[in-house]
Amino acid sequence: MRKQLCDALVARAVKPEMVFLTGDLGFMALEPLQSVMGQRFINAGVAEQNMISVAAGLTRQNFEVWVYSIAPFCYARPFEQIRNDIAFHNLPVKLIGNGGGYGYGVMGPTHHAIEDYGVLLTLPNMSVYVPVFDEDMDVVIARAGISPRPAYIRMGRGEPPKGYKVPAYAPWRQLTCGSGPVVIAVGPLAGAYIEAFERLPAEYRPNLWIVSELPIERNPLPAELLTQLENSSCLCVAEEHVRHGGFGSDLLLHLADKNIGVRRFRHLYARAHHFDKYGSQKFLRQQSALDADSMLAVLKGLQHA
């Protein structure tokens, strides 16, 4: 998604009030942006706490500020600066974290971001965007850009099946249809489910939804999804995020508030920061039972429970 991010920001950089801060990252990706932005492209160095507060200071003076880093360095290291200096003041700084979830794979857990949106959504005014496909990025940048709130964009790598026609971006999208359970996925891992679900007969095939904007309070479930939930006895949520503070628990609370019951629920989530061995994002998803085969096994069990 970095190329699409760069393209979207290059187009946006015609706005003279736009400033881009990077924590010394973006090599072989953001050079075109650096080239067009000149002195408004600032490499703030390896100093993320300062970078966030500088962003707040710039935004207070009406600049539109985008901040970029590897995801954990973007939200975990400078969390207090995000909380105090951005969120408390409702300053619309846009945080871009690359490598959401296990995106940095074998680089190890210091580079993973599996508690990012859960942590950030505890803060007042914060919005989260989770693009699923590379093609989503230009709309996500546009939507985050016009939002009057602070925002965190969790970037990953689009993983659609080969030849797949990516649906136009929307905060909620339905990717597969059938008479099976409702599955809601957060982020690019949904791409791996599409192919697996399409192979299933329609009577078992899940209604696969993806959600790209959080919190739910500002992006309520579409009516069609609510109808499917009411008609289905089964709901499964998959997210590359720890269970605590994740989308799954937030969704259940939201449904409970609306008096919408779910008889059978399964949650696929990032199970650990550390496994016995390191590996790729694909490997770590398997370890967490987030891969397509694990999803199919869970759904089979759910339908026969």
Binding site: R40, N50, S53, V54, A56, G57, L58, R60, H89
Partner: protein, 261 residues
């Protein structure tokens, strides 16, 4: 330096008394670090900053001195100060996030203010104007790594529209700065940076005026050698006045001392 009238000795004393009255009436401590910062803050607001300029109080626990200064400017009223630290107030123990036009940021967690000020100063630089930004830090908060991140950034970006004041009263939360994590003398640590550095008596109005009026070629840092609890002898240089509230007897003693010639 702007053309505002120079503060008189009486006005400094009046502000000091008003600060103590506010803390006494609200039963609130943090007095020592407010009194060490008050003189410089008064001069910055009354004699240096123009309306368009910005001030960032990085040592948010000196909110009392800031509120008192804004009161002395007529931007806060007696009724505002009476609400200090009470329920349903805007005047919290540390500067609020909204509601007071002169306060841009809620500070209180140390090590944020210099970065906020740097971002503000950079904004004016990018806009191509010379709006000034003043940031007041404590001495203890130079133990925060983020403060040094901010200094590196501010130097690198040649933020000559930024002036940093360090309230160097030598006492922090649970000991002297020398005993807790010594950088003594702090100005020796700062000297390696590309800055205009001055070390002055932080309670000498003319020294503060001269330092603020000096020509700037680079980021300016003025280390104010101050006294915690300045102006009240039983508080001066005593760590407990980082925390203690005033009793009625002590409040009256303090006021008498400030009023004495």
């Amino acid at each position: 330096m702007n053309t505002y009238t120079r503060l008189t000795d009486k006005e400094f004393r009046t502000a000091r008394k008003r600060l103590l009255q506010m803390h006494f009436e609200s039963g609130v401590g943090h007095i020592g670090g407010n009194l060490s910062a008050l003189d410089a803050m008064l001069i910055v607001f009354h004699e240096y900053l123009h309306d368009i300029d910005k001030f960032v109080l990085s040592k948010g626990h000196a909110a009392g001195a800031l509120y008192t200064t804004l009161w002395s400017m007529g931007r806060l009223q007696d009724q505002d100060l009476k609400s200090f630290h009470k329920d349903n107030t805007l005047l919290a123990g540390h500067p609020p996030a909204r509601g007071i036009a002169d306060i841009a940021f809620a500070t209180g967690s140390l090590g944020h203010g210099l970065s906020l000020a740097a971002g503000t100063a950079l904004a004016f630089k990018l806009k191509g104007n010379d709006t000034q930004v003043v940031c007041l830090t404590s001495d203890g908060e130079w133990q925060e790594g983020s403060t040094w991140e901010a200094l590196i950034f501010a130097c690198h970006h040649h933020l000559i529209n930024l002036t940093v004041l360090v309230d160097h009263n030598n006492l922090q939360g649970f000991g002297s700065t020398s005993d807790v994590a010594s950088m003594s003398p702090l100005w020796n640590r700062l000297q390696g940076f590309d800055i205009d550095l001055q070390v002055i008596d932080g309670h000498d109005p003319d020294a503060i005026r001269a330092a603020l009026a000096s020509e700037k070629q680079r980021l300016r840092i003025i280390v104010l050698r101050t006294v915690k609890g300045y102006g009240v002898s039983f508080m001066e240089n005593r760590m407990e006045w980082h925390y203690l509230p005033l009793t009625e007897d002590l409040f009256r003693m303090a006021i008498e001392e400030i009023e004495s010639p």
